[in-house]
């Protein structure tokens, strides 16, 4: 909706002089949100020319009395159903503010849309029907405002004309909602009696509410403050990506809190690696000399080559977030299936994602109900507190310390299903990160590659048990070594006997197994060796994590021998045991192997000899820049 108002205030072509505040209007269905919005637009002179007349004409044509809410019900579908189904944003101006009004639906079915709208707001108007009083959705929305971190809430008691502008009725409702909100730690900035339909209390204190001495709705909006500055908090720069478009290696992200400047000592969490910011990169002018504060999307380079990945958090040494595998959160739940203990989820904290398991559920209630009976599971549109255990460590803060990094969302099947605030984190057992100072190798990568005639790489062989991974890995190892290279075999089973002997075969343990394999292999690759990993690694997500760790050094080979052939071979007797039911969590006889979709190479060992397969791998390593083709090429590189 293009609604731009003419005002007496001077033109501000640079758009910079007036604070902009985003307001969401929430409340029970039919308590008059859309009417209030329509009335506000009219009272502030924000309607486009002819709009009101056009809508009055449309109403007449449809044989309906004109309603202010028609202004918002711009969609055909909405007019048919008579309810606002999604958030709509409208801009207008008060004396001192540019207001972005977010109209959120009151119908319980559309709570996800209310949350989508309210999450963007600096402040909220909670509307209550004077006749009906506080209803379940009123309480629910109040609770959600608290969970969404919206602290400035003005309450309007609407339809005062229906209760003869009774001061007593107003006080009754005012007391009830104030008690509910203050129980959540929210103090209403004002409670205002209005009639949105007639205009009382919206922009004017009319005679009919002469007993009311507080602000009108427009005045209350005028007093709301834009989102508070986060710059005073400790630095949190969650890493969105690492770019290598040219010779710079730029770590990109948005500063969620605090500030940074070139030269700062930083720590990269959760790994705890330490570095110094070399430059702050930008475009078209680069580098930037000044300090960059919260809210900026930036790119930085570091003084050393460290492994960093999306989701890491950059902080100042000494004020880093806590690294944890376990946390407690207060959440709202939007999914049809209730959230129960033992459920597997995907949790996102900023750009970081981790699989997680619900360890405990407490205080699961319907925030709309007065008697808060506790449930075992968190139902749709309900709230609760959960303990979750994460399969990857994440760095986070309790929301009381940092409102930006202290919140998370939960995904189910790739769709956001809930979200909430981090109440507390269980600090990990890891040593203080500031004590860890990585020692860089004495050798440069090119010194090694000149000797080995190859670059470092992680060659990752994935496939069903008995598909031929280990055989191929050994053949490749011999081949590379014969050619003067430095291959190192990392066999999944062999590592499980030592480094990984604390891990079982649950999904979480399998992920951790793969992560450790990938970390070790990547360390070897970074030092110029070719790490050959042979591991079933059935989960696509785990292999994607390995690729993220090894980054450009990763070469995935899918050993795609047909399942029947694998089972027939069965050199370790695993298939036989599994068929007999003696081997739980065995990959191979079920459908739990997720084949790669974009492996660098696919080999079916039932159709190749070992030598042919090794030839193919060697060829792939040559064409993808791992093995040097000719001595001449090497000379050219020096």
């Amino acid at each position: 909706m293009n609604m731009i108002v003419t005002t007496a205030s001077p033109a501000t072509p640079n758009g910079t002089t007036r604070p902009q505040v985003r307001i969401v209007i929430v409340g029970h269905v039919d308590h008059g949100k859309s009417t209030l919005v329509g009335r506000l637009l009219h009272e502030t002179g924000s309607l486009p020319e002819g709009k009101l007349e056009m809508l009055k004409a449309v109403s007449a044509r449809r044989g309906m009395p004109f309603e202010w809410s028609f202004l918002l019900d711009a969609l055909q579908t909405e007019r048919d159903q008579g309810i606002t189904i999604d958030t709509t944003q409208i801009r207008f101006r008060t004396n001192s503010r540019d207001i972005v009004l977010i109209d959120a639906p009151g119908h319980a079915e559309f709570l996800r849309n209310m949350i989508t709208g309210a999450s963007q707001a600096d402040g909220a108007v909670l509307i209550i029907d004077a006749l009906e009083g506080v209803r379940d959705q009123t309480r629910r929305h109040g609770y959600l405002l608290h969970l969404l971190g919206v602290k400035q809430v003005a309450v309007v008691v609407n339809k005062m004309d229906r209760v003869d502008f009774s001061a007593d009725r107003f006080k009754e409702i005012s007391d009830e909602i104030s008690a509910h909100l203050s129980g959540l730690g929210v103090t209403p900035t004002a409670v205002i009696p209005i009639s949105a339909r007639d205009g009382d209390g919206v922009a004017e204190r009319t005679d009919r509410i002469d007993w009311y001495k507080g602000p009108t709705v427009v005045e209350a909006l005028d007093r709301l403050e834009p989102a508070r500055a986060l710059e005073a908090l400790a630095l949190r720069l969650p890493v969105q990506a690492i770019y290598k478009f040219d010779d710079r290696r730029i770590v990109a992200g948005r500063i969620e809190s605090g500030s940074l400047i070139a030269g700062d000592e930083i720590v990269i969490m959760p790994a705890g690696k330490i570095a110094k910011i070399k430059t702050v990169e930008s475009w078209p002018v680069t580098p930037l000399a000044g300090r960059q504060g919260a809210g900026r999307s930036v790119g930085i380079t570091l003084d050393r080559e460290l492994f960093i990945e999306r989701g890491d958090i950059i902080a100042h040494a000494g004020s880093a977030p806590r690294e944890t595998r376990r946390l407690r959160a207060r959440i709202f739940w939007l999914h049809d299936k209730p959230l129960a203990k033992g459920d597997q989820l995907l949790v996102r904290c900023g750009p970081k994602e981790s699989r997680a398991t619900v360890v405990a559920i407490e205080k699961a209630v319907d925030p709309g109900e007065l008697s808060s009976t506790e449930n075992k599971a968190i139902g749709r549109n309900h709230v609760g507190e959960i303990d979750i255990s994460l399969s990857n460590p994440i760095a986070t803060d309790p929301y009381t310390e940092n409102p930006r990094t202290g919140r998370l969302v939960i995904e189910v099947s790739g769709r956001i299903a809930g979200g909430g605030l981090v109440l507390s984190v269980d600090a990990g057992q890891r040593a203080m990160p500031v004590d860890i100072v990585p020692v860089e190798s004495a050798l440069r990568p090119d010194e090694r590659s000149a000797r080995y005639r190859h670059n470092g790489a992680v060659v990752w062989l994935t496939g069903l048990p008995a598909s031929g991974k280990s055989t191929l890995a050994r053949a490749l190892e011999r081949r590379l070594f014969t050619n003067g290279g430095s291959p190192i075999l990392l066999d999944g089973d062999t590592l499980r006997a030592g480094l990984n002997n604390d891990l079982g075969f649950s999904a979480a343990d399998r992920s951790e197994n793969i992560r450790r394999l990938a970390e070790v292999a990547t360390h070897l690759a970074r030092n110029g060796h070719i790490a050959i990993v042979a591991a079933v690694s059935p989960a696509r997500e785990d292999r994607a994590a390995a690729r993220r760790i090894a980054d450009t050094a990763f070469r995935e080979i899918h050993v795609a021998t047909p399942a029947e052939v694998c089972e027939e071979r069965d050199p370790k007797g695993h298939y036989k045991k599994a068929r007999a039911g003696a081997l739980a969590s065995f990959t191979g006889i079920g459908n739990d192997y997720e084949a790669p979709q974009a492996a660098e190479l696919v080999i079916d060992t039932s159709k190749r000899t070992v030598t042919e397969a090794a030839d193919e791998i060697e060829h792939m390593l040559k064409t993808t820049g791992v093995l040097f083709d000719e001595v001449v090429d090497l000379a050219a590189n020096i």
Partner: protein, 298 residues
């Protein structure tokens, strides 16, 4: 923050010199320059573009050659430090203004864009029950679907804004499309705290809207501040200018004397006429625009 209330954090550092730096770092810091409205819009758009690039496999930016998509390309170059790392897709109706084609050919090169120009099917292939201008726009939707099928993009970055038109106000930043490219306005996933639903079902795609939160005035103010080139048709000539540029046969100029961006901004302060008033398709029937959008129009 730990540091401010807990000096012992610095004491725990094993390296005394580092501990001293940490102790003084926070307190001696000068404040970062505060962000104005345009800075905030820019930072948010860059965040969205980087999320799209990180979370989707194969994306393209829809370049309509208009003021909004030019700002978007500028933002993408900021997000990725100079060069846009994915293609600019121009779904060409063949009916744009000559000035627009000249602009495309010139800046496609100057900005080092990976430009893909894709044609639209003939008008006969389009739903004949739509009013004429809407039908013409629906042709573009078909062209878009063909381009999607050809390249297999799983994400398309589009320069729509909430303030342009009522149905666009309902959009999400990451907006899933069905297998037919259609938009289900009734079943949009929740989206909050800059967490986006980035997993389109197999074979479907996402629309990404990095400037959804901008207004027409923001676009002009930013274009001016950043000195982004524009097509001269936006500036008044003989008492008329284009506020919005579409196909030649379905876009009309508005009466205006604004011959510079500053004058456009002053004009926008005073007008109550909607931006797309020159777009014939918005006015044909009450629901023509929404029908188009449900079918996959931008």
């Amino acid at each position: 923050m730990h540091l401010l209330k807990d000096d012992s954090a610095a004491d725990r550092l094993s390296n005394p010199a580092l501990a001293e730096r940490v102790r003084t770092q926070k307190f001696s810091a000068e404040l970062a320059p505060s962000m104005d409205h345009l800075d905030q819009l820019e930072a948010q758009s860059i965040y969205i573009l980087r999320e799209a690039f990180a979370r989707l496999k194969k994306i393209a930016l829809l370049w309509s050659l208009g003021k909004d998509s030019n700002v978007m390309i500028w933002l993408a170059r900021k997000a990725f430090f100079g060069r846009m790392p994915f293609p600019a897709l121009h779904v060409d109706t063949g009916k744009k203004f000559p000035e627009m084609y000249r602009f495309r050919d010139h800046y496609g090169k100057e900005w080092d864009l990976d430009l893909r120009v894709e044609p639209c099917p003939p008008i006969d292939a389009v739903d004949p029950t739509l009013p004429p201008a809407a039908r013409s726009a629906a042709r573009k939707t078909e062209g878009l679907k063909m381009a999607l099928a050809k390249y297999g993009f799983d994400g398309l970055i589009a320069g729509i804004r909430r303030d342009e038109e009522a149905t666009r106000a309902k959009e999400r930043v990451f907006s899933p499309r069905g297998l037919e490219g259609n938009w289900d306005v009734r079943d949009q996933p929740p989206e909050f705290w800059d967490h986006f639903n980035a997993s389109p079902p197999q074979g479907a795609h996402l629309r990404i809207h990095p400037i959804l939160h901008w207004t027409e005035a923001d676009i002009w103010a930013y274009t001016k501040r950043e000195n982004i080139p524009i097509i001269p048709l936006y500036l008044a000539k003989d008492g008329k200018r284009y506020r919005s540029l579409g196909d030649q046969d379905i876009t009309n100029p508005v009466a205006s004397t604004a011959s510079s961006i500053d004058e456009i901004l002053i004009e926008l302060e005073q007008t109550k006429v909607p931006e797309r008033s020159g777009r014939a398709l918005d006015h044909e029937t009450e629901d023509a625009f929404e029908r188009l959008r449900v079918a996959g129009y931008l």
